[in-house]
Amino acid sequence: MKARVHVMLKTGVLDPQGEAVRHALGAMGFEGVTGVRQGKVIELDLAEGVTEADVREMCEKLLANTVIESYTVDMG
């Protein structure tokens, strides 16, 4: 089984990389992009019996820094 963890900077935390991407898109002529937020995806290969609760604990303790980041977990 796989789990896919999405980690994003929280709303209100400045994302200078996303902002640089937004700026570049505008400079390339792509119009109408009013905001870009950049995050990361972490894929976990899991043995039988590992639960979503286990993955959430991994997020809380290591995969995300909840001071600045939020995360979502997709199982399967």
Binding site: V13, L14, L62, N65, I68
Partner: protein, 222 residues
């Protein structure tokens, strides 16, 4: 004073930190990230600058989970002193020993230059040899030094006089120009600038030397 300096894979300021402590009169022992205990009788743990574990995942995140960091946490919980510089500050933030987090610099660039810092408080063993309001020139060298904390944390840091240093002219976007903060018991300091790189005339500046001198003086056995 007896100090231990932690060495992670990727640390690159560990010897600089040890040299600065020794020059100020401290006895220094190096400890490895896989060690599970600190040497007996240690007063202070130094967590040096560098790129621990290649900055993988987040700066300091893997180091914060290392065996030695569990010992550092126990040392701090006992009331021991700790000093994190640059990556060491990031490690202390990732462990939760210090509040907040260090984000990518607002300008996205790695910055390596000497900056002016204002000493915000002289009320700590780290800053006692300075006067509040002193402006000192200390090098920075970081890509992720943009200090962030939520408004409640910032209020607490300000109300409790726990901001040790602020940038004069903010190089990296840090909230409140914060360059270094103290723990609630004022025995842990984390800062992005490198005082150990301004501690000898050969460095081109000696404004950081007072931090080490003051610390060793404050922690010397009575």
């Amino acid at each position: 004073m007896r100090a231990a300096v932690v060495v992670f894979p990727g640390s690159n300021c560990d010897r600089d930190l040890a040299v600065a402590f020794r020059a100020a009169g401290a006895h220094v022992t190096m400890v490895w990230h896989k060690d599970t205990t600190l040497p007996d009788g240690i007063d202070l743990v130094g967590i040096p600058g560098g790129f621990s574990y290649g900055d993988y995942l987040r700066c300091g995140a893997i180091a914060a989970q290392s065996p030695i960091c569990r010992a550092v946490r126990a040392h701090v919980d006992r009331g021991g002193y700790a000093f994190g510089v640059c990556n060491g500050f990031q490690v202390l933030a990732e462990t939760g020993i210090l509040p907040g987090a260090l984000l990518r610099n607002a300008g996205l660039k790695y910055i390596c230059k000497t900056v002016d810092l204002r000493v915000q408080t002289s009320s700590s063993a780290f800053t006692g040899a300075y006067n509040a309001g002193d402006v000192i020139g200390i090098p920075i060298a970081h890509h992720d030094g943009n200090y962030f904390a939520d408004p409640e944390t910032l209020t607490a840091l300000n109300d409790q006089d726990r901001v040790a240093f602020r940038y004069v002219g903010n190089p990296n976007g840090s909230v409140g120009d914060i360059a270094g903060i103290l723990s609630e018991n004022r025995r842990v300091l984390g800062m992005m600038p490198h005082p150990e790189r301004a501690a000898d005339a050969g460095h081109g500046g000696t404004d950081g030397a007072a931090l080490f001198r003051g610390l060793v003086g404050a922690l010397a056995p009575a």
